[in-house]
């Protein structure tokens, strides 16, 4: 049953302290430390200028959640994801697990546990950003204001979802690489190399392409989809077709590699893990 596989994977990840800390907790901690550091520096600058700007809590929250899916976050999550998806090959433990539960359940459990941990990590990073902003505001005795408006909730949820999908996309590619190559290293390096190539391709797009992206860009560049969706949530006037295409592109880049990993794993000989 999937519930059994989930319980097993959760049990294992919770006790894999190295993967848990470096993969899911390190970035939120760094975000908090850097955020507080910046705020303290800002406090000094404010003291010199004798102007104390108010803290717009809504803006801070939206920025924190929008920034949570940064490449820095993706890199550390990749390390944890590689440990989860490639661990059984490295430790040669598939032979212990596959006779106890179906392969589909075991791989789905890994994907779901990683997705849940990534969501928690993104939430913690956002929380760290908000906490740093508040600490800074208290430190410089700045007033706190709320300019969220009526659409703050959907906007916050949308940005959280985009950041989450943004970090899941390389993790999904890493899952496929781990299963195909049976290697943790490949699970980290493949999404990085692919990400660099995609970033280079994106940099070649002209302003016209960004306004109405060609089909190949939607198919090949999930990063473009992230930018378009964020712009849409930020109020940019984008055609509905563009929004839908971007959503499909990002969702496809998250779901299809995991499905492909499942198909490969289902037929994979475990003569050696």
């Amino acid at each position: 049953m999937l519930a059994d596989a989930l319980a097993c994977e959760g049990f294992k990840l919770w006790r894999n302290r190295a993967a848990l800390f470096w993969g899911f907790l390190f970035v939120p901690l760094v975000a908090l430390v850097i955020g507080v550091g910046v705020e303290l520096w800002f406090r000094g600058a404010v003291a010199r200028s004798h102007v104390i700007p108010a803290l717009d809590l809504a803006r801070v929250m939206l920025k924190a959640v929008a920034d949570a899916g940064s490449p820095f976050t993706q890199l550390f999550l990749l390390i944890a994801g590689a440990s989860v998806f490639g661990g059984e090959y490295r430790w040669e433990t598939w032979r212990l697990l596959t006779p106890r539960n179906s392969r589909a359940n075991l791989l789905a459990a890994k994907a779901l546990v990683v997705a849940a941990a990534a969501a928690a990590s993104v939430a913690l990073i956002a929380f760290a950003g908000i906490a740093a902003g508040l600490i800074g505001a208290v430190g410089r005795h700045a007033p706190t204001v709320w300019n969220g408006g009526h659409d703050f909730g959907p906007q916050f949820a949308g940005l959280f979802l985009i950041s989450w999908l943004q970090v899941l996309q390389p993790l999904a590619v890493g899952a496929l690489a781990a299963v195909v190559s049976r290697s943790i290293l490949a699970a980290v390096m493949t999404p990085i190399v692919l990400g660099v190539v995609q970033a280079l391709m994106m940099s070649q797009l002209g302003p016209g392409d960004l306004a109405t992206p060609p089909l190949w860009a939607f198919l090949a560049l999930p990063g473009l989809a992230v930018e378009l969706l964020r712009a849409g949530l930020g109020g940019a006037a984008l055609p509905a077709a563009t929004i839908w295409s971007a959503t499909a592109s990002l969702a496809g880049w998250v779901i299809l590699p995991v499905v492909a990993a499942g198909v490969v794993f289902q037929r994979q000989d475990l003569s050696r893990e």
Binding site: A18, D269, L270, S271
Partner: protein
């Protein structure tokens, strides 16, 4: 006799290597069944196919009459088991129990570790375990959920002599006390002879021999006689006797032996030694695998 495991004309190739070549075998329910073979004979591949870890290239593998590959209640330990290095022995069993939907209390886990002699290492990280300890933990893991069928690949590998003896007794008790069907592969032929009821010998992916251990070794026994004059002994035995250093090897049944010795004494032959030799699995194994190579 119900077959719990069946291999029907199984073939498995890994690139140019044929690990199994039209292999067929039925493992009956109950007792301890040994699968023997030289390195690379195809034993582990056969086990992995029955456990669904590997798909056959051709032929069928059945577990209790159903196609292999579906998770079911089979305990298994394939080669030297490995475990996530950050878990303790207790956590390892808890994790594997969760994967199989087996609910265990802490006391259950400790009792299982105690049964394989790992009680004192229960809270130790498996990273520091010796090969023998890994084997013991592997056996404990194989028995989670109390499966009626257990497949053990080299269960005594890496163990010291005392550990081997302990494991042999443990495996025997699984079959005799708990009614578990145990299928094991081992290179320790003397151990296999002591613990197994039936064996199959695989050589180069093919079935070389199979049967009850007692039946397989029975035809291999020779009565070795040290007696004078030797010529008289050879005369009585005829084609069934051959000279062997200072004695004679006689190919006779155990039932015939008293009459033979009586006849020799009546002919004035002085017998200084009479003992059975060669009734071991090793001779059968070497004969089967050696013959196949020679052929």
């Amino acid at each position: 006799m119900t077959a719990v495991l069946q291999a029907l004309d199984l073939t498995k190739t890994f690139g140019p290597v044929k690990a199994l070549d039209g292999f067929s075998l039925e493992v009956p329910e109950g007792g301890v069944f040994g699968v023997l073979g030289p390195n690379g004979a195809g034993k582990s591949t056969l086990f992995r196919i029955w456990l669904g870890l590997v798909r056959p290239t051709d032929g069928r593998a059945l577990v209790r009459g159903e196609p292999a590959g579906r998770p079911r209640r089979i305990g298994s330990m394939i080669e030297t088991p490995r475990f996530p290095p950050f878990l303790t022995a207790v956590q390892t069993l808890q994790m594997l129990a969760l994967a199989g939907g087996v609910r265990l209390t802490d006391a259950d886990v400790l009792a299982r570790l105690e049964r394989v002699g790992l009680a004192e290492a229960a809270q130790r990280n498996v990273r520091g375990f010796s090969v023998g300890m890994m084997q013991r933990l592997g056996v404990a893991a194989a028995l989670l959920g109390d499966p009626p069928l257990v497949i053990l690949d080299e269960p005594t590998s890496g163990m010291d002599p005392a550990g081997i003896q302990e494991m042999r007794a443990f495996i025997r008790s699984l079959a005799d006390r708990d009614g578990v069907t145990v299928v094991l592969a081992s290179h320790q032929l003397a151990e296999v002879q002591k613990v197994c009821d039936r064996v199959a010998i695989i050589d180069r992916g093919r079935l070389a021999a199979q049967g009850r251990v007692a039946d397989l070794v029975a035809g291999q026994e020779r009565l070795r006689l040290v007696a004078t004059p030797v010529d008289s002994v050879l005369e009585v035995l005829g084609a069934r006797g051959v000279r062997d250093s200072d004695g004679v090897l006689a190919q006779v049944d155990r039932a015939e032996a008293p009459a033979l010795i009586r006849a020799l004494v009546e002919r004035g032959v002085e017998i200084t030694e009479a003992r059975w030799v060669g009734g071991d699995l090793e001779r059968v194994f070497l004969q089967q695998t050696g013959d196949a190579r020679a052929g």
